[in-house]
């Protein structure tokens, strides 16, 4: 093509005199504006940042480790031991900080595995459709029909009780929701004209699936991942509380609550503190997830 074409003036009758009505704002800018307007989501986010920072750096600032057994057992709350000590003389506050690391990493790892596996699985089922889709969704139903606890117990029996086993068990039992959400989004998006446009341009399957279908499912995917974290934290806490989860001396929040249970009538606060940590974190994640849900939904303008 020549320069003249580039610089050539448009004829008057083909000039476009339409105006651009909406000011320039990218998808993420708009989402952030809507998210900021949601107080609960904002509070949730601040709490989460605080919890994550505490889990990362808190233990370095403490004079004791999670294993250190002090002479003072079952001490009450004080300036030295914010939440007191447990029956072995370990600082409960410090143990909750370490517990945060375990609980949060279980949550994050499960969420990331979900993100990758659930998205691919649902994306392929929805995109290919037909018999493969029926088969893949049948498998999802089967996996659903087994209670999540059972997976964790089975994995523990196979690989021994460890944080990794809990993560694997929880991940195996929780990716199906993501797969279903991605599948239904992909199914409706693939009927849209921009998908046909990509096909006519010669785009291959992986390009169509990733660049056109999954990119447009980003909102629901982000929300599902965010809500996945507290769900995994809760499952892990619940399992540990039942005694099937992570065991001593390492301790997740669920283990801490479980350890203190025998003394619940004498020292109830030893159970209350780890439970509070679980509740606050789960609520914060849910608030953020809910806020993202509205912020990333293109149908919700303000």
């Amino acid at each position: 093509m020549t320069e003249t074409e580039l610089t050539r003036k448009l004829l008057p009758e083909e000039k476009n005199d339409e105006f651009i009505a909406i000011e320039s704002e990218t998808f993420l800018q708009a989402a952030w504006r809507k998210f900021r307007g949601n107080k609960r989501a904002l509070i949730g986010m601040v709490v989460l940042i605080f919890v994550v920072l505490a889990a990362l750096f808190g233990p370095f600032l403490c004079p004791f480790s999670y294993e250190t057994q002090l002479p003072e057992k079952n001490a009450p709350m004080s300036l030295l031991h914010f939440f007191g000590t447990d029956k072995f003389g370990r600082d409960i506050f410090v143990r909750i900080l370490y517990g945060a690391r375990i609980s949060l990493s279980v949550g994050f790892v499960a969420a990331i595995i979900n993100l990758i596996f659930g998205t691919l699985y649902g994306g392929i089922a929805g995109y290919v459709g037909g018999k493969l889709d029926i088969l893949m969704m049948r498998l999802v139903d089967i996996i659903y029909s087994v209670p999540p606890t059972l997976y964790v117990v089975l994995i523990m029996l196979m690989f021994g009780p460890s944080v990794t086993s809990v993560m694997i068990g929880i991940s195996i039992s929780s990716w199906m929701g993501m797969a279903q959400i991605v599948r239904s989004n992909v199914m409706s998006l693939k009927e849209q004209e921009f998908t046909m446009a990509a096909f006519v341009l010669g785009a291959g399957d992986s390009r169509i699936l990733i660049k056109h279908l999954l990119v447009n499912t980003m909102g629901p995917i982000i929300v599902t991942v965010t809500l996945m974290v507290p769900q995994a934290i809760f499952t892990e806490a619940w399992l540990s509380f039942l005694g099937v989860g992570i065991s001593a001396p390492m301790a997740s929040w669920g283990t801490l609550a479980q350890d203190a249970r025998s003394l619940i009538e004498v020292y109830p606060m030893q159970t209350v503190f780890p439970m509070l940590a679980i509740c606050i974190t789960i609520f914060a994640f849910n608030f953020v997830g809910e806020g993202l849900g509205t912020a990333l939904d293109p149908k919700q303008k303000h």
Partner: protein
């Protein structure tokens, strides 16, 4: 209008007996495109008209192999592409493109205008990233948008502007043939002419061929060299645009033209509206014989039994028994 045929006379696109049906519940088949035969010459526009649901989009999509054809042949530039695999189709995708009806749905909302226009070149590995960017800049100018539009998202544009973005995306591959599937029917009337003018100019500059789908015969007549009229998946009349517009032969074409608002009051033919009785039959349950027999004002007994061929008559092809060689023989006697 000038007819720019090649020296060899071989058309750019030829379809023969092209058929596309969709399986529907109950084991039935919905014939969206039924044994259609037509040609598009180089640099030529073939306008396709017909009511909504008559199979125009399905035909355009089958030609571009978005839908696999069930019967018939698609010959592009002398090569039979009917059975080509998706991979073998790739070189032809560069040459055969499509402009869509809905400028809101045909652009990926999460890509910037620059990415949208660049994507076809990335897919076909044309040029370097830098040369592609330059090409995007150039195309933006060709379709009448501004350079700073490149970083914006589709939702920031009006319908006409989005259609321009779609046109730029298509032109990135420098195709020879474009299916325009009602490219202006979703636009404001005031914008329609601008987009039509743009398409006409691009055609003149690049010698492109269009298969231009629309339901407004007036407009199709204005931009087309040839016209094809479709009814219930069948092509019922096909030939020179002016001839068909001024002297329609098929009763359905006559009804369509009489129903369109008159632009030319000095028109020689006395305009009286032909009111068609009844509804368009369901394509799932077409009448036996001629598909138009149920609504045709000139219907005869044989029309309900015999499916007419495309007969040569008065310089065009018409699928109506009035013009069969036999009927013509009778009139001549």
């Amino acid at each position: 209008m000038s007819d720019m045929q090649t020296q060899t006379g071989e058309p750019l696109l030829r379809i023969e007996g092209l058929t596309k049906f969709f399986p529907v519940s109950g084991g039935k088949r919905l014939f969206a495109v039924n044994k259609v035969t037509l040609e598009v010459g180089k640099g030529e526009t073939l306008g396709i008209v017909g009511e909504s649901g008559c199979g125009k989009s399905s035909m355009g999509r089958t030609i571009l192999k978005v839908y696999e054809p069930n019967e018939g042949k698609i010959v592009f530039d002398g090569k039979d592409i009917t059975k080509l695999s998706r991979k073998k189709m790739l070189p032809y995708r560069k040459r055969m493109q499509m402009i869509f009806q809905d400028p809101y749905a045909s652009l990926n909302p999460r890509l910037t205008v620059g990415d949208i226009i660049e994507e076809p070149m990335t897919i076909h590995k044309i040029g370097t990233p830098a040369s592609r960017k330059a090409k995007v800049q150039e195309l933006i100018g060709v379709v009448g948008l501004k350079p700073d539009h490149i970083r914006r998202f589709p939702h920031e544009f009006s319908g006409g502007q989005r259609q321009r973005i779609g046109i730029a995306r298509t032109l990135a591959l420098e195709p020879d043939f474009i299916v325009c599937d009602e490219p202006i029917s979703a636009l404001d009337v005031s914008i329609q002419a601008q987009v039509i003018n743009l398409l006409e100019r691009i055609q003149k500059e690049r010698g492109l061929s269009y298969l231009f789908i629309a339901h407004d015969l007036e407009m199709v007549h204005h931009i087309s060299h040839k016209i094809g009229v479709m009814y219930l998946g069948h092509l019922v009349e096909y030939g020179d645009a002016d001839e068909i517009y001024k002297r329609p032969k098929h009763p359905y074409t006559q009804a369509l033209i009489s129903a369109s608002p008159v632009a030319d009051p000095k028109s020689a033919r006395e305009k009286h509206r032909i009111i068609l009785e009844g509804e368009v039959p369901s394509p799932l349950d077409p009448p036996p014989g001629c598909p138009f027999s149920g609504r045709c004002p000139h219907v005869r007994d044989e029309c309900r039994q015999i499916l007419p061929d495309m007969y040569d008559y008065a310089g065009r092809k018409v699928a109506c028994l009035q013009y069969s060689p036999k009927a013509q023989g009778i009139t001549l006697q």
